[in-house]
Amino acid sequence: MKNQMTPLTTMLAILTLSVSTNLFALEAKAIATDRKGNASNVVQGKKLWEQAFTGKAPFSNRSCTSCHGEKLVFAGKHIRTNKLIEPMAHSTNPKRFTNKAKVDKWFLRNCKWTIGRECTTQEKSNIIAYLKTQ
């Protein structure tokens, strides 16, 4: 028998190739989640939320948690005035993230104060993705 690529063999080869490519893609996506199976934007959001930044005294060490607190299901406290800030966790405060104008306003102010610049669209969406899981 001649060693030849019959149409059947070709088809099988293409099928195997496409299946393995898809499996590879799924594997890659699986690698992009953390051990708990959270998507990478949630992981990135949590990282940014907890990251420490430097700023002007008396608040030379700043992060989102400075005002919003360590436990998102509880209310936070304004770092200077001590005024109560309603919980960020969607689970205890379902009104969160329902008003786009309000969300935009606070991102504008708080990213500038904490990080020193506006957050990118990706960063904002990561943070919201993280907060929605809380």
Binding site: H78, R80, T81, N82, K105, L108, R109, W113
Partner: protein
């Protein structure tokens, strides 16, 4: 025959004189009581305190981090200075959208202390010198004078208060524009007695 002195004209005169005396007593004592006001300023007989905040947008936008301060607590120039520096609002960022910004100015300016006929607003304005523009209520001479007898440990060093900017922590009736001394109860200390 005895002359009865208490005839109608006499009674009438006595009534008129006593009425006039009572009225002027009331008027002059009121004027004297309003401490540092202009003696002849009759509009001082109008509303006490300051305007109570009556704008929902202002309440919403300006009370997330501190109480909503009545526009009647500062003159127009001071409010303009505050609104011009929202990106550095006493160390914080309080930026607004342009339309929201203008909307709030439209509430603040017509209701500012120098446009107001509320008694305390007028006292605040009178205490200010025309050359300096203060951007803090706590830096108006009137405010300083009114709070200069309070020990540091009652406010600044009091963990339950922390700052003079937290008016509503001690003044229980700020929502109605009232800062009357008999409404003052300092957390951890009690009612204020002069």
């Amino acid at each position: 025959m005895e002359q009865n002195l208490m005839n109608k004209p006499m009674i009438g005169t006595i009534l008129i004189i006593s009425t006039l005396s009572l009225v002027s007593l009331a008027f002059f004592s009121q004027q004297a009581r309003s401490g540092d006001s202009n003696f002849w300023d009759l509009s001082e007989l109008k509303r006490p305190g300051v305007l109570s905040v009556n704008n929902a947008d202002y309440q919403e936008e300006c009370s997330s981090c501190h109480m909503a301060y009545s526009p009647g607590l500062l003159p127009e120039k001071s409010w303009i200075k505050v609104m011009d520096n929202l990106d550095n609002h006493f160390g914080d960022n309080a930026e607004l959208t342009p339309s929201s910004h203008q909307n709030l100015l439209n509430y603040l300016i017509p209701n500012s202390a120098d446009k107001s006929d509320y008694r305390r607003s007028r006292k605040i304005v009178r205490s200010l010198s025309s050359d300096k523009i203060v951007d803090r209520i706590t830096l108006t001479p009137y405010f300083i004078r009114k709070h200069n007898e309070i020990p540091k440990r009652f406010v600044i060093d009091n963990p339950k208060v922390g700052s003079f900017s937290q008016c509503n922590l001690c003044h229980s009736n700020t929502e109605n524009g009232s800062f009357s001394e008999d409404e003052v109860s300092i957390p951890g200390v009690g009612y204020w007695h002069d």
